[in-house]
Amino acid sequence: MLALALSSAAAAQTMDVPLTAVPGEPVRGRAIVTTRPLGLCLLCHAGPFPDRHLHGSIAPDLAGVGARLTPGEIRMRLVDPAASNPESIMPSYRRAAGALRPGRAFQGKPILSDQAIEDVVAFLATLKEE
């Protein structure tokens, strides 16, 4: 029973099938990650981008993440961060419902569209250097 739970949790940590038929576009992904109101990533994460003094320090540095994780693992982090850490503070970028008191403008909406998530995955996969 426990073994089953453990193995399914491990299996849940990668999501190898892309969310869309159109491949992610790294240039658009970079714009999403580095434009605060779009991706919100740099609120929490730092990364190999300009203005480091405006990057957050409450999540791992994104430098080298493309070497540490496969695209499937990165996709899984964005879609369901709780799969790898049930206590994660990182929000699901795909979940459209279930949040308590979502702001009026955000009700029923995910943070990013499926295509935007693919763009971000494609971009993070290029960050090979620590």
Partner: protein
């Protein structure tokens, strides 16, 4: 003997944040210097207006000074709010208390909670408690208000699905974007924020954090707001009052 002393220590250690740290220490040296110098602290513009409002009778009513005398009599008051109104038993924050006085003792219309006159009166009353430890009552009707406030503080909210505690407990001192996350205490309100270019209430600050996690903010007079304010005051018990604080 030793055990008794230890037990006493544990009992008096207070809630979650054992030794609360004011956001003053996260504000940076320039902002701290502004707060420390009354002639440089822009919050004193409101304090002065509030002192004038204290003396001025509303049309057909009595001035605050008409009942309370010199505003120095307000020493210690701001440090113990939110509190239950003795007449009705209803918990109110300082702005709520001021509006009760307007209605009951001054026959005057309520002041807008975030309006200039309310902020000015709250700043003028607040500054009288500067340096005194924040210490609210936890008994009677306050007990459940505080408990609900703590529960809310620990509830994930908004599209970003974050709780107040996730930022202000575990991650205080770390950076959210370019800003240092403070412990999120209530001891310096009303507070002048450079970002706002004006003085603002604790309710406004809480709304800003809720909007930040893309949650629907509580109205300034919603019960949830009072509950959060009460919990913040309790978790910061013992912090010296700083009104009017200055923050980035």
């Amino acid at each position: 003997m030793r055990a008794a002393a230890l037990l006493a220590l544990l009992l008096f250690a207070g809630p979650a944040v054992a030794q609360p740290r004011s956001g003053y220490w996260d504000a940076g040296p320039q902002v701290r210097a502004m707060q420390d110098d009354d002639t440089a602290n822009p919050g004193f513009l409101w304090v002065e207006q509030g002192r004038a409002a204290w003396q001025a009778p509303p049309p057909g009513g009595k001035a605050c000074a008409g009942c309370h005398g010199d505003i120095a009599a307000m020493r210690g008051v701001a440090a113990r709010y939110p509190a239950a109104d003795p007449a009705s038993g209803a918990p109110v924050d300082l702005a709520g208390r001021i509006n009760l006085c307007r209605a009951v003792n001054q026959s005057a219309p309520k002041l807008a909670r975030e309006g200039a006159e309310m902020l000015a009166l709250a700043a003028a009353i607040g500054v009288e408690s500067r340096g005194l430890p924040q210490r609210i009552a936890t008994d009677g009707p306050m007990a459940s208000v505080i408990a609900r406030g703590e529960a809310l503080f620990r509830t994930r909210m908004g599209q970003l699905n974050l709780s107040c505690a996730q930022c202000h407990e575990a991650r205080a001192g770390a950076r959210l974007g370019g800003a240092v996350i403070p412990e999120g205490h209530a001891n310096a309100y009303p507070e002048y924020r450079l970002e706002w270019q004006t003085i603002g209430s604790l309710a406004r600050r809480i709304r800003a954090c809720l909007t930040g996690v893309r949650a629907e903010p509580f109205a300034a007079d919603a019960p949830e707001m009072l509950e959060l304010e009460a919990w913040l005051a309790l978790r910061g018990a013992g912090l010296p009052m700083e009104t009017p604080g200055v923050r980035p």
